[in-house]
Amino acid sequence: MSGSRLPHLGAVTAAALGTAFAMVFFYAPVDADQGFVQKIFYLHVPLGIVALGGFVAGGVMAAQFMRTRDRRWDLRSYVAIHLSLILSVGVLATGSVWAKASWGHWWVWSEPTLVSFLVVFLLYSCYQPLRFAIEDPDRQARAAAAFAVMAGAFVPLNFAAVRLADAVTHPRVLGATGGQMPVAMRLTFVVAMLAMALLYVLLWRLELMRKTTAIEIAALRRALEQRATTPVPSIAASPLRPSPH
């Protein structure tokens, strides 16, 4: 997508988010079990799914970098992981608020879903320190890609392991046994999910464009400085100059 399409994507994302939030509060019915607190679900779950999806996407992009050695894939992977890390802060914060409202505790250490997400978050918190601890850009990109691929593969494995765990204080709203949502709730969730995915793509594109521009400016400045320090050969001394004879 070119930069000229970004305003359209921004408008669609804003409309989708507005629609999703309006549906959450004025269309989706109040949950019979949890009451009004369940409205957090429409924010917390899409945030979590998009954040984890972003980590996996970062791993796939890193694999593309390892395959092609094209630095653009490394940058894409970096931005995807960076953004997912920020969304993960939102997942943990909104999850804590929901936990306090539903269970009376901000955090439950015996709950695998919460702890596993925290493990994923802490794992990816190491990505940037690891990356920027290496000065050589090629080595930095290779190490970051290796990390992103391994951590990206860990995310679905971790998710599957948690689903198989016994402790299920955390609701299983999208599972085989817990997916009996009314149509209005399901539709609201789908719209919220779509809005969050659009927001992720929009922010990813924006950040990628800014970083690409900054890299291009730095390269141009280096080229300009190099040209200023390199003496320009005189045309008179040029071997390509046609001989007067």
Binding site: F25, F36, L43, V97, A101, R210, A214, R221, L224
Partner: protein, 53 residues
């Protein structure tokens, strides 16, 4: 159409959505600062090119 309650559950729900909005606003503010820095770099580069000419 259900009404939005302003009791304890309503406060928790509001807190969760406010956290999301604040996170988004902080992110956009940081991004705006970076964009301003990039624009400044671009202006300096343009000045350097003009001086060289």
């Amino acid at each position: 159409m259900p009404t939005i309650p302003f009791d304890e559950p309503g406060a928790y729900v509001a807190a969760a959505y406010v956290i999301f909005v604040v996170l988004l606003v902080v992110y956009v503010a940081v991004m705006a600062r970076h964009v301003a820095r990039t624009r400044e770099d671009l202006r300096r580069l343009a000045d350097a090119i003009r001086e060289e000419r």
